[in-house]
């Protein structure tokens, strides 16, 4: 049923409770945060001009000054340079794992919904078995193969993310493929490529966008969490979770140090969450 079509009010006057997100302008705020973080990750290393691993043991835990705008860490390394590199790493991981989950996940989802039959049954069975394993556990299992390496994180996250894309795309595609718009497109003679491009994709894209921002946030947080429990990226590579755990003991001596990675992580996740929140209630 389409209540709007019979609404007794002129469209321009439709009176609905003002959407709450308007108060925060959330999407643009989120996008702005992400642009800021990305710019910091991209240009930070150049701007800081220092080597993120170069130490100055005689100048550790230095307060922020002109040379080191964010101070130096417990080994006298430039926090600005380290933070920028860490941001780069986190964003890369997020981007990479989301992209490599999205493409097969969405493609398989469309294929399963389109073809049905054993293609669908097999892919659902695979998805179900991965789904029974919370993503972090999968990452932990893989991380045991190669502790401290980047690939288990990446692989584990992608492996656990694709299921979500697959499920969402398959479910939505099922509905769309049975919908009049696609039935009519077929009757009109349009082929599968056109249907995917003009009918499926525009409907799926906003949802996938939301999902992507969520899984990117999950990736960033998971990486930090693994760093925190000592299974993530190994030092001296700057990584937010590892930095947090390394700098936590100095929370009283040099509070700005621990605040920096926490702040950056929070801003990144907040940005991703805000960008994605538009449709968060849809799930």
């Amino acid at each position: 049923m389409n209540p709007a079509s019979e609404s007794s009010l002129p469209a321009a006057l439709s009176i609905q409770p003002k959407p709450v997100r308007a108060y925060f302008g959330s999407r643009s705020v989120g996008a702005a945060l992400l642009v800021l973080v990305a710019a910091f990750a991209l240009f930070g290393p150049t701007l800081s001009g220092s080597d993120p691993v170069a130490q100055d043991l005689e100048n550790f835990l230095a307060a922020p000054d002109a040379a080191n705008p964010l101070g130096t860490d417990h080994l006298g390394r430039s926090m600005l340079a380290r933070l920028a590199h860490a941001a780069q790493l986190s964003l890369w991981l997020a981007l990479l794992s989301v992209a490599s989950a999205l493409i097969p996940g969405a493609a398989l989802g469309i294929l399963a919904a389109w073809r049905g039959g054993w293609v669908e049954r097999v892919s659902v069975v695979i998805a179900d078995s991965v789904l029974a394993l919370p993503g972090l556990l999968l990452v932990l299992l893989l991380a045991t193969f190669a502790p401290g390496a980047f690939w288990p994180l990446y692989l584990g996250l992608s492996l656990s993310f694709w299921v979500e894309y697959f499920r969402v795309v398959r479910a939505r595609s099922h509905i769309l493929l049975a919908s009049p718009q696609i039935e009519s497109a077929r009757l009109l003679g349009f082929g599968p490529l056109y249907i995917v491009r003009r009918h499926l994709w525009p409907e799926l894209a906003p949802m996938l966008g939301t999902l992507m921002s969520f899984s990117a946030a999950t990736a960033v947080l998971a990486m930090a969490a693994l760093g925190f429990v000592g299974v993530g990226i190994r030092p001296p590579t700057p990584e937010l979770g590892v930095m947090m755990i390394e700098l936590l003991p100095y929370y009283q001596e040099a509070p700005w140090l621990i605040a920096a990675p926490i702040g950056l992580l929070t801003l990144t996740v907040l940005g991703l969450a805000l960008v994605g929140r538009d449709r968060s209630s849809m799930q």
Partner: protein, 318 residues
């Protein structure tokens, strides 16, 4: 009543049962290859775990190798591996030599306690705030909870945990910082987990509730002549509960993952704690046992959520 002749409960149980089998197979296989692909010498690792690294020596490692039969060919090991798993025998820890089933049975209690407390707390906090926010969308409570939930979601659980320790334990001394043994020990880790959970369920509850309040059946309840309280109780809560309970299924991931990280932080002797340790020591049977129990726990909890959804929402039953 079902047309296909399969009751919906049996349908849920069957589907989830299959899922449990699949995940057991997945975890078992991964663990086996993990065992085989362990870099370095497993006997050495095990010996170090057993005797402390000050005492690890070639002799100790050799003793371990013979004792555990690590020198047998891989195909025998594979067969043994599967046979054991099929008999629900999780084997013995490479590090402690204890039966893993015993260890985990003990740890599972702690994990369940933590998860249950966290869930209960989050259900006290989240939906209550969500309903308050949903009753007046755009109102002050709505805006405050939105801001709170958004920021809280952006906070890694372990950071939140540390903040709570610093605030409630170090500065105020209300609660023990970590450990277990005292009745109050569970509060901090449970609260940490619950706040994250509540941040999600609060918004879901809010959306669900505002949807219910704006629904035609809610309006019909009012125009029928029911008071606001009567409509809320008779038509609001149950309908709003349907998406909240369904969302609980999605939150299970968060609970399981949170448990793994927070048990380590709070020295809570559950399976999550054991898992991180086992990974650290490459105690593969233990890793397998922990991950398996977590996965089965996850499937079980999801089954309960499914059944709760069936109970709450008659539309799913037909």
């Amino acid at each position: 009543m079902n047309i296909q002749g399969i009751s919906p409960v049996a349908g849920v149980l069957g589907r989830r049962g299959l899922q449990a089998l699949l995940v057991a197979a997945l975890v078992g296989t991964l663990s086996f290859f993990l065992m085989r692909m362990l870099p370095g010498d497993a006997a050495y690792r095990i010996a170090a775990g057993r005797y402390g690294y000050d005492l690890v020596s070639a002799a100790a490692a050799e003793a371990v190798r013979v004792e555990l039969g690590l020198d047998q060919p891989w195909y025998l090991a594979l067969v043994g591996w599967w046979a054991q798993l099929a008999e629900f025998d999780l084997g013995t820890s490479l590090v402690t030599g204890h039966a893993i089933a015993d260890d985990i049975a003990h740890q599972l209690g702690h994990t369940l306690l933590l998860a249950f407390c966290a869930m209960a707390l989050s259900l006290l906090i989240g939906p209550a705030l969500g309903i308050l926010a949903g009753l007046r969308p755009g109102g002050a409570i709505d805006r405050i909870t939105l801001l709170g939930a958004t920021v809280l979601r952006a906070f890694p659980p372990f950071v939140l945990g540390i903040l709570l320790i610093l605030g409630l334990s170090v500065h105020l001394g209300y609660l023990p910082a970590a450990g277990h043994g005292e009745a109050t020990s569970v509060v901090l880790p449970a609260l940490t987990l619950a706040l994250g959970l509540a941040a999600g369920s609060c918004r879901i509850a809010r959306d669900a509730f505002s949807q219910v309040v704006n629904s035609p059946y809610y309006a019909f309840g009012r125009t029928k002549g029911l008071s606001d309280r009567q409509v809320l109780l008779r038509h609001g809560l149950r309908n709003a509960a349907v998406p909240i309970v369904a969302y609980l299924g999605m939150q299970m991931v968060f609970i399981i993952e949170g448990v793994v990280i927070l048990e380590t932080l709070f020295a809570w002797p559950g399976i999550g704690h054991a898992l991180i340790h086992a990974i650290f020591w490459r105690d593969v049977p233990m890793i397998q046992g922990c991950v398996l129990v977590f996965a089965l726990l996850f499937v079980t909890l999801n089954t309960l959520v499914d059944l709760a959804c069936l109970a709450l929402d008659p539309r799913r039953r037909h």
